[in-house]
Symmetry: none
Subunit: 222 residues, 4 copies
DNA sequence: ACACTCGGGACCTCCCGTTGTT
DNA sequence: AACAACGGGAGGTCCCGAGTGT
């Protein structure tokens, strides 16, 4: 779940490229925070191998906290949109698409990355309770996620694909929470087979959101 | 979810009480780790106000890590048994009992503690990926949890309360993961109403585990 | 004691004005050094709100030290001349003029500026012992001051206003030192009433420089 | 003006001696602050050659600031008492004793220490304006000094050694300020001959505090 | 003549763990 | 069994100055 692109790794002796530098810092930071946690990752570790120095970092960000904030606002939020909100918005069947997305995210993650969990969940668990700035930003990302999913569920209801007796907003939040729970469970048992069995069980539960009588097979297209 | 008993806070001027001291350290540590995280809580903070000194801590535990291990093994494991495994084992209906447990845990937690999440989940998210010793112990606790829940689900199947077409083990793990996901979601949005709506949606999904035709109302007692 | 003129504070979007920029930097620097000390004031703080960037600063001055030197040479020296040497040179009675100057300097300083002391004294106390370049320049300013005062005292002796049994040079230096001592005392007790009482006592001591028999009243005009 | 005793310089591998360590830190700190200023002296410089480590320093003082506070409260205040307040209290003639003290302080200071000024004055000039905690403590030391001197001047008035038409409190503060001014002047011109000439001129001014007709020679005993 | 970006070092702080002692 | 005192290292921050472009 979330395999960031590595920074260039070479010292840029050519012209200054502020945007490139800033991006390189954020990408390296996301990777390291993902692997080691926010607090446990020192700035030196963070910059190691990126060709960026602390001077540059502190030019682009006032402090480590602000770097973390920027990662949430500019990277993680975008990732949620790309991976969840947009595909759902264009899907023919919400339930099917949900199952596909979850499975895809797990399948795309190499087994040795499973143990690192989801960056969004990691930051939330580590920092939301002790840093209100983080909490606000993370909550805002979750809100986007919830709203995107809720909108799709609502559309699904209109299309007869989703039961109408459910609290759409709460269900959306629950689906998100369950997914993050699955991602979190991977940290204790980083095993792809186990992950896929969890995903399977998740799909079965999700199927319960269909109206009675509408079976999975009847809707599935592929 | 998990409101630890506070340590005494007074300096023990009486005879040395090794077990009491050890227990006091662990209780204080669990509280502080719960509120502030394992790494972010310094030993000095941890002992502040407990009347215990670092010397005592290092007599009972070789280092901070071992203290953390002991908390997982001796406190958190027990809590899971008390709150989940035992009630489920004695329950008449698994599905009902599951819904009751989840609701109870959330309801019992004061709103200002919601933001601290579940200690087990917190430790897992923070440490499982970077400390194999923690990971092993945490995984073992999860295994107890999973097995206890799976056994109850199996019994439920025999009693006709649970669908027989499900992967019991995977479903048990999913239920645990979803619950931890809900607990984790509280850290970003520490709001009791939101929590209870999530719990409600969770109950609805869980109801999908009943065999077709067995409605909730038919079983519900209150 | 020394209320510097504030820099413009607006970004100069018009044509480059080297002298204006240089002057703006020095004025801002003097103000900030006066308020916060030389070392404790960073270049960024210094330029904040001036509309000048570090690039401009480093075009006009090779480094922070040189900026400090220029302030001593070009600004502080001039201030001493304006406020002390010139008035004394044109005075009818040295002793009277001395008392007037000291009182005026204190009275002109707003109470909330008293605590910042005298820029010359500040720089001397902070830097003379650790930076020989500063020491030399500051000593040179003091020399001007001493010589100006000594010349006036000498003229006073010729006019029968000053005792002839004193070491004029040493007395001049002592008067300067005492004044700086008073200015320095303001930093610990930034209180205008206290300052004026000190000035009063200073005047009484200074009166001891008159020849015996020449009372203050006989000369005083106001 | 204040030549501190050097710390032992050897690592104490024997038993812990908390008081000795604390004292060693403060003495080393006073010396270094005296020579290089408070802010400009790093903790590493401070501890270099003392055999004390940063761990010990931060056990005895919460931070650098608190170390500075302790030096003012526990060392500098005592020095003022020893060198000024007590001798004046036991003196037969205030004016004479004042002149002796000033001369003694200057004469006792090796020429290469003249440039470092007076620790009390140094701290005041550097920190009083930017650190209210320092200002308060320094002001309190000055108050002790002023009061001690004022009491002696008052006694001198009763004994007919001091003019009765002066503001004793203001005069005491002025004498202190002038002395600190002289000490400060040494930083720009660290020259013993110059210092003694200043002291001589100071003595002549101080003599003006005697009642008219009472000459120095008539009272002097030695 | 001046602006933006970056380099690298040093400083205060703080933290985990140990040691000698009772 | 417990405590006060201490060792040593690393982390975030910040700052002076250099470099390139315009």
């Amino acid at each position: 779940m979330f395999i960031p692109i590595r920074a260039c790794g070479k010292r840029c002796t050519t012209a200054k490229q502020p945007d490139v530098t800033r991006q390189a810092i954020m990408e390296a930071a996301l990777t390291r925070f993902h692997e080691g946690g926010f607090s446990a990752t020192s700035l030196d570790q963070l910059l190691e191998g990126t060709g960026v120095t602390k001077g540059a970092l502190y030019y682009h960000f006032p402090n480590k906290q602000a770097l973390g904030y920027a990662i949430v606002d500019e990277m993680i939020r975008g990732w949620i949109h790309e991976r969840w909100v947009r595909p759902l918005a264009h899907a023919e069947n919400v339930i099917e698409e949900l199952k596909i997305i979850v499975r895809r995210v797990i399948e795309e993650t190499p087994e040795n990355f499973l143990a690192f969990g989801c960056p969004l969940n990691n930051l939330t668990q580590e920092l939301a309770a002790v840093d209100e700035g983080f909490r606000t930003r993370l909550a805002s990302v979750y809100q986007d996620w919830h709203e995107g999913l809720a909108a799709s569920l609502h559309k699904g209801q209109a299309a007869g694909q989703v039961r109408t007796d459910i609290d759409v907003a709460a269900t959306a939040a629950l689906v998100v929470a369950s997914f993050e729970g699955i991602a979190g469970a991977m940290k204790a048992a980083p095993n792809k087979d186990f992950a896929l069995r969890l995903v399977g069980a998740f799909g079965q539960l999700i199927d319960g959101l269909r109206p009675a009588g509408v079976t999975q097979e009847a809707v599935s297209v592929d």
